[in-house]
């Protein structure tokens, strides 16, 4: 095998991609990480404690991996889905009926559920090992926002199948916004935001209306949730993830005893 591949490794084509040699030497191991844009997320060497699954639980890495799965399966699903009240449910039905051995929607849904669990467990592990303590306070905060974004990603995606489960789960969830203090029309303080008997905060302009783009979960909400789910929140999450991973390194690598 070694002999068979050797001539290929000497070609200009191979060497234009991999700038380091193959033999297992410390120099090549170093270069394997340094000369790869994805691997250089990692330092060249890590403390042994950072590799122990019984220490890290691998939950942060799995969360990121599930995010990638969601991106790929989600992208494929977007080919077959139109976010309108007329078509949304039909398209999902079509996906189920007409695509042989189609498991993209299944993968997308189960991976989404798993991602919520892994991100919680990641937070649990980071707390229990005290890894939020200096110098990692800021990165813990980035992580908290990422956790919220994960929940929002899942929440916005929940509406898209446009079945009874979807619409009513979002109705129950978004009803809370009605009760936002001052800004929701059923929230405390909203009644005081009025002038000459004219209420400024009512069902047609309060926090819930802004969230749903309407007085109830309708076509406006579907489009809003679709755009947030496919573009808005993933972009925000990807940006914060970049910061999160970068700060892990800057703050001393995968946490371990100081």
């Amino acid at each position: 095998m070694q002999k068979l591949l050797d001539p290929i490794r000497k070609t200009q084509l191979w060497r234009s991609v991999f700038r380091h040699g193959y033999p297992d030497t410390p120099r090549n191991r170093t270069l394997a990480v340094l000369s790869n844009v994805f691997l250089h997320l990692h330092p060249v060497k890590v403390r042994r404690s950072g590799l122990r699954l019984s220490y890290t639980w691998c939950m942060g890495g799995l969360t990121f991996f599930l995010f990638l799965i969601e991106t790929i399966t989600g992208l494929l699903l977007m080919f077959y889905y139109r976010p309108t009240a007329e078509w949304a449910f039909q398209d999902i039905m079509g996906l189920r009926e007409h695509v042989p051995i189609g498991i993209m929607r299944e993968m997308h849904r189960w991976a989404a559920h798993m991602m919520v669990i892994t991100v919680w467990l990641h937070m649990y592990r980071v707390f229990l090992t005290g890894s939020y303590k200096p110098p990692r306070e800021f990165n813990w905060n980035v992580g908290v926002i990422l956790l919220v974004l994960t929940l929002l990603l899942s929440f916005t995606g929940y509406l898209l199948p446009w079945d009874q489960l979807a619409v009513w789960a979002i109705t129950v969830g978004s009803n809370m916004a009605r009760a936002t203090p001052v800004l929701g029309h059923e929230g405390p303080g909203a009644a005081f935001v009025s002038f000459g008997g004219l209420d400024f905060i009512h069902a047609g302009d309060d926090a819930r209306f802004g969230l749903l783009g309407g007085r109830f979960v309708g076509e406006g909400a579907l489009l809003r949730f679709y755009v947030l789910h496919c573009v808005g929140i993933p972009l925000a999450a990807a940006t914060l993830m970049a910061i999160h991973f970068w700060r892990v390194r800057k703050d001393g690598g995968i946490s371990g005893p100081l």
Binding site: P26, E106, G189
Partner: protein, 360 residues
């Protein structure tokens, strides 16, 4: 025999018993952590859990709720939270013993050695990735993603539930109005989590599992995460049926099961029951007992305790940290207080001003 056991379990899972039982269980596990962190405990848990599952699967009502495709993640959540809590506790116990003997912690021992990212770390990541992909693919082939009937806004399903990860908050709607359960408390959870690194002034326990070096922090997170978040999600998923009434795991979800609503406001207790007179016309006067209680709780309690009982804590944290920490804890504490008041006194609102949607 089976029927008796089933009704016993249904009885045990009634929310009050479920909550207090879980609380006692968590405190017991932390207190007797040396025993509960033994491998035999977790093995026993999973063996017993599997046996229970196989047995309970025969029951149609249990089967119906547990095998709902969207509820499978909750089973995974239960198994993984129990397992990882045990794992963290085990390492904490081992580390604490090592520290007592003057040896470095398990992580400290490990951290002495550095290894190459390529291949050591990369291949660990790769194996995790392959295993997880395989799991997802199998899961996706075996169980189809559910699709219910098309959306129809004129037909409200009963129960209407939020997505499963918000069911803990939906459970709080039993005790609080939406502006607290759905807006204020989630906001405080996020702000509180963000504030943790700035409030925790204990420099110990950074980068390794321990209990003895930070008992309050670890205990608090177990209570907050495992009890108030995860166990409430489980409660909301499996034990809440139509009209958000309680149903045991082996109980049929009867649409007509109605729980009597006999809850009374604090103002009614004070004016009508205690002083034996009608409720005052003026809202402020009517709600004055509750308002005084809340003002005392939020404004008098922190400085009072800071000067007396918690003097040491106040000195250690400084005024800003102390007050932020205390207010977060007071909001958190409001949840069990309200729950207890509901169970013991049937209390509805401490301050109830429905005229302005201001109900606490």
């Amino acid at each position: 025999m089976g029927d008796t056991l089933r009704s016993l379990i249904d009885w045990l899972f009634e929310p009050t018993r479920y909550f207090l039982g879980s609380l006692v269980a968590i405190l017991a596990v932390l207190k007797f952590r040396k025993f509960f962190s033994l491998p035999i405990v977790i093995i026993a848990f999973f063996v017993f859990g599997t046996v229970f599952f196989v047995w309970a699967f025969g029951d149609p009502d249990f089967n119906l709720i547990v095998t709902k495709p969207d509820n499978i993640p909750i089973i995974i959540l239960i198994a993984s939270v129990v397992f990882f809590s045990w794992l963290s506790l085990r390492r904490a116990v081992i580390n604490d013993e090592r520290t007592k003997r003057g040896e470095p912690t398990l992580e400290g021992e490990d951290a002495k050695r550095k290894v190459f990212t390529w291949p050591d770390l990369v291949y660990t990541e790769f194996i995790c990735l392959i295993l997880f992909t395989a799991l997802l693919v199998i899961w996706s082939i075996v169980i189809a993603a559910p699709l219910e009937e098309p959306a129809e806004l004129s037909r409200t399903p009963n129960p209407s539930k939020a997505p499963w990860y918000f069911l803990g908050l939906q459970e709080l709607l039993v005790y609080f109005d939406p502006w607290i359960a759905g807006v204020l408390l989630p906001g405080f959870i996020i702000v509180g989590l963000c504030a943790i690194p700035y409030l925790d002034v204990n420099p110990k326990g950074n980068g390794y599992y321990t209990f003895d070096e930070r008992p309050f922090a670890v205990g608090f997170f177990w209570i907050g995460f495992v009890l108030f978040w995860v166990s409430f999600v489980i409660l909301g998923t499996f034990l809440r049926g139509p009209n958000w009434s309680f149903f045991g795991p082996f109980e049929y979800w009867n649409l007509h099961k109605l729980e009597p609503m006999v809850n009374v406001d604090l103002s009614t207790y004070v004016w009508v029951h205690f002083l034996d007179r009608p409720l005052p016309e003026s809202i402020l006067l009517r709600e004055s007992p509750g308002i005084v209680l809340l003002l005392g709780y939020f404004l008098v309690l922190p400085p009072l305790l800071g000067k007396t009982l918690l003097k040491g804590l106040f000195a250690q944290m400084g005024p800003a940290r102390y007050h932020i920490f205390f207010h977060m804890m007071l909001w958190f504490g409001l949840i069990p207080i309200k729950m207890l008041a509901r169970w013991v006194l049937n209390l509805k609102y401490i301050v109830g001003i429905p005229e302005y949607f201001f109900n606490v």
